[in-house]
Symmetry: C2
């Protein structure tokens, strides 16, 4: 196991910032991008349910359309890579079936042996929440992989900008998400900061540690 020192973690987290202007000429090397995609796949989710999909948009024409649905923000077209974080609009019994099948396959166990776990998911997700509650819950989950991506990118020296300032309905239409049972929740643009991005040099604004980390 090859771990990192606390100082390296903090240097990279202090180095990152919400990039406003990307260098449109620089592309992320394939091995680094593959690691970002794999980090998304490996992200934890509540109950392991993975009620999400990550849409990587490389088609320049589609990115122009998305930019128009994002208040014209240049990151959408200029960043090396764009990921739309989408959540399932509902969780159905068939989603739970699919998940149980996956566990059974990966771990080589019988679906019957998962009955207890299945019952727990049915109780806490399908029965304890209504449709709107389930949608709110799946939407929250996708912020975990967003945090995973932002941390992973910073550690590899890749710039990124997390974004919520876009029209989700327009994204759903442009990317054909509704027919897949998905809806757009957040975006991450990833690449390299432009030397002209003045935001890179501004001091990071955070509340003092004692105001946000409370000890009991």
């Amino acid at each position: 196991m090859k771990t990192i020192e606390p100082q390296q973690l903090l240097e990279q987290l202090n180095w990152r910032y919400a990039t406003k202007q990307f260098d449109a000429g620089r592309k992320i090397p394939a091995d680094q991008w593959a690691a970002i995609e794999e980090a998304l796949v490996l992200s934890p989710s509540s109950l392991g349910l993975q009620a999400w999909a990550f849409v990587v948009v490389q088609d320049p024409a589609v990115r122009e359309e998305l930019k128009a649905a994002s208040y014209g923000q240049s990151q959408i077209t200029d960043a090396s890579h764009l990921v739309v974080f989408t959540a399932r609009t509902d969780v159905t019994p068939s989603d739970v079936d699919q998940y149980m099948d996956r566990i059974a396959k990966v771990r080589g166990v019988s679906p019957d042996s998962l009955a207890g776990f299945r019952g727990m998911i049915e109780g806490s997700v399908l029965q304890a929440r209504d449709t709107a509650g389930r949608a709110a819950w799946t939407s929250r989950q996708v912020y975990i992989p967003l945090g995973v991506l932002l941390t992973s990118a910073a550690l590899m020296g890749l710039d990124a900008c997390p974004m919520e300032g876009f029209d989700p309905a327009a994204y759903d239409r442009i990317l054909g998400l509704a027919e897949k049972g998905l809806t757009a929740v957040a975006v991450a643009t990833v690449g390299y900061r432009s030397t002209e991005d003045g935001y890179a040099a501004l001091p990071k604004v955070r509340y003092a540690k004692q105001d946000v980390v409370l000890h009991v």
Copy 2:
């Protein structure tokens, strides 16, 4: 800038798992824990608003109370450290004032120069959402630092378990969160896996990459 290679990232993300049984005898060294707290402070948030607090609970008696409000799950008392991720129950004009004051102080600019940004926050958070909508929004945000913590811990070789299986109302009461305008949303227990935790050896269950990472 000292970055990590893709392979190191993936090795650590594959090493991590939702730890079910912690070694109650092992404590995280102070410098590593300080880095985890700092990583939480540095976490990105929408508009930079940081409508959250992270409650680190070390008092054994309080952890016993929280365990009782968490279906008796042993991680709550056995992990080296416990963090309760809390979200502000609302965002008020005075929260926005406080944020503007912080920006002005950190960056040495006049509050007047932030009028445009302030107006944008008022429009998108205070006016475009009702109280329930704002609470849903702040609750989503705290999953970003949850993802940051889980990734940071894995890279430093610390085990962790993200948890939603607890009674938020009981947590709010036990930790006195309501009077601080906060509510408990998620928990992370962090420490070292017990050699007796059979879950550590199980294959990780994830959907195939092509099923969750879509390309356009």
